[in-house]
């Protein structure tokens, strides 16, 4: 288990980590997502003892990394391996590269050969032993880097955006290797990624890192459906995020005053509470005519005008001024059939349960 306690790190007067708390269980894959420059790499470098924190500590099992100076860094480091975004490939063959960490551990030549060959097979580089490592492709180099870490059988592997510079096929291969390693060796992993879908695919849990802190952590479903703040909601892909105030509430569903309109949303927050609410574009419906009978069970049926339409792949992103600037996604077939265009009068409907309300 890894436990990070109130970890702080400043470079000069620039604080990068502002109190990170984190626990990762044995065999768990914990994915950290967040905008660039928020301290994700610094956190991994501190866990790998490549940087020293300004304050706070990291525990690996019952051993502290920083409470005894750097006295036990070297022994602890052998429990941890790290794969970097741009892997360093050493001069020499693939075998020499993968065997690097094993040489530091002074194991027998037979065991070294056996482990390197096994690991190369596991990462799909069987038969590459004698090839010049620096002449391989970017994806193969990243697999060498992974094999080099994996071959030392660390308890923990830290992955700093390991697929950010490789093609989709290699990304898939590396993800398979990561999952295989966890399954086969029960390795604990902490992985940084800017690819949120990858985070969703790979993570048992996800942490969202912003302003030098883990702002929210939870299962992928929790993170992607129930963001804790408006900032997180925007980061994970909610296009419609608004501030508002609870005007009235029955304890379950509230009327939220937001911009020049009112929306119904499910929340237990009290009347008068300042809130941020958000809704995914795919949870809204666009109508060219007012629904007969008004909002009905949907409760939210907002009238507005189309201000612009943007094409994103096969989708039309319709921007509409409904008292708040809503963005609705419709398929191109629908858009062609109804002939929606800028300036049209439209209605947007959605369910209160699709509205995610957060305290502000």
């Amino acid at each position: 288990m890894i436990r990070v306690e109130d970890l702080q790190k400043s470079f000069g007067n620039n604080p990068v980590l502002r109190g990170v708390d984190l626990e990762v269980a044995d065999g768990e894959i914990f994915v950290i997502i967040g905008p660039s420059g928020q301290g994700k790499s610094t956190l991994l470098r501190i866990i790998d003892t490549l940087e020293v924190p300004t304050s706070g500590d990291v525990w690996i099992g019952s051993d502290s990394l920083y409470s005894h100076g750097d006295a036990n860094h070297h022994d602890m480091r052998k429990k941890v391996g790290m794969v970097f975004q741009n892997p360093a490939i050493f001069q020499g063959t693939v075998f020499e590269n993968v065997a690097y960490g094993l040489r530091y551990r002074k194991i027998t030549s037979e065991e070294m050969h056996e482990r390197v060959e096994t690991t190369l097979r596991e990462v799909g580089l069987e038969g590459y032993e004698k090839r010049e490592a620096r002449k391989l492709s970017g994806g193969e180099k990243q697999r060498i880097a992974f094999a080099r870490t994996m071959v030392t059988r660390p308890e923990i592997i830290l992955l700093d955006e390991p697929t950010s510079n490789v093609d989709p096929v290699t990304t898939e291969k590396i993800e398979e290797i990561i999952l295989y390693t966890r399954k086969t060796y029960n390795t604990t992993m902490i992985m940084n990624t800017h690819d949120m879908l990858q985070g969703q695919r790979m993570g048992d849990r996800i942490g969202v890192m912003m302003h030098g802190k883990i702002m929210q952590s939870g299962t992928p479903k929790e993170i992607f459906t129930l963001p804790a703040t408006g900032e997180i909601a925007r980061f994970i892909g909610f296009d419609n995020v608004f501030d508002g105030t609870v005007e009235t509430t029955d304890g379950h569903t509230a009327v939220i005053q937001s911009g020049n309109t009112r929306v119904y949303g499910e929340t237990t927050l009290p009347q008068g509470a300042a809130v941020t609410w958000c809704i995914r574009t795919e949870d809204m419906h666009l109508h060219m005519k007012e629904r007969p009978g008004g909002a009905g069970k949907l409760r939210n049926h907002l009238e507005g005008r189309v201000t612009s339409i943007g094409l994103v792949g096969p989708e039309n992103h319709v921007m509409a001024d409904c008292g708040i600037p809503l963005e609705v996604v419709v398929g191109w077939r629908f858009a062609d059939r109804v002939g929606v265009k800028t300036g049209d009068r439209i209605w947007v409907s959605f369910n209160p349960e699709a509205v995610h309300v957060m305290p502000r």
Binding site: R77, G81, F84, P87, A88, R148
Partner: protein
């Protein structure tokens, strides 16, 4: 013009017939410079590693000073070492003045800035991820140093070759510290200087050709090591 051609032919004859004096001077030059280069490397590489991987106040000034010392005049080194080794100097009790040992000290001082400076440049221009990866893989301090040096070894080979070339071709310090004693401290450069002033052009040219040949061999060896790697 014919004097130069005649001198050249006589020089070749001295080399081909294995003239004992020519070869004795040449071997002494090689021995002194190889020893100095070896000692200089053993001293300089750890210094360069310390400079590259540790921060301290005045570090950049020190690095600038080392770069400046690349062009240190050899006669100045000769004078400095002479003062240190002379009978009344602080190291006079070693009795190294006018000995090959004293000449080695002079050459070591001459080449240390080159070796430290070029090794430091190679280490600091190395991708930081290389350093991080080596540490991350669990290297202890010695393993880290050896792994890093392995990655920059070609630049270090070049630095050693350059240092050897600078040391074997210098004359100022060799004359002041060694005294150009025949059969004892006379080396290629000091002998060329003396023989030329005495009008023995053929002998000087033979020594000059050997000096050039040594430089060629050093370059050839370095290239071979690099290719072999």
């Amino acid at each position: 013009m014919s004097e130069i051609v005649d001198g050249f032919l006589t020089a070749i004859n001295l080399i081909v017939t294995l003239d004992p004096e020519v070869y004795e001077i040449a071997f002494r030059s090689i021995y002194i410079t190889l020893t100095a280069t070896l000692i200089g490397s053993v001293i300089s590489i750890p210094i360069a590693m310390y400079l590259a991987f540790h921060d301290f106040r005045g570090k950049m000034s020190l690095v600038n000073l080392i770069h400046t010392l690349y062009a240190l005049p050899t006669v100045l080194i000769g004078l400095l070492v002479f003062l240190m080794l002379s009978r009344k100097g602080p190291l006079g009790f070693f009795g190294l003045l006018f000995t090959p040992g004293g000449m080695i000290i002079g050459q070591v001082i001459l080449i240390i800035p080159i070796l430290v400076g070029l090794t430091y440049s190679a280490l600091t221009s190395l991708d930081p991820v290389v350093k991080d990866t080596i540490i991350s893989l669990g290297a202890d301090y010695l393993q880290f140093a050896l792994s890093i040096l392995r990655e920059v070894r070609f630049v270090i080979y070049a630095a050693i070759a350059m240092a050897f070339g600078r040391a074997i071709s210098e004359v100022g310090a060799a004359i002041i510290i060694g005294g150009n004693i025949k059969g004892y401290t006379r080396v290629l450069t000091t002998a060329i200087s003396l023989e030329t002033s005495m009008g023995n052009i053929e002998f000087s040219m033979a020594l000059g050709i050997i000096l050039l040949f040594i430089a060629l061999v050093v370059n050839f060896v370095m290239t071979a090591i690099r290719r072999g790697d």
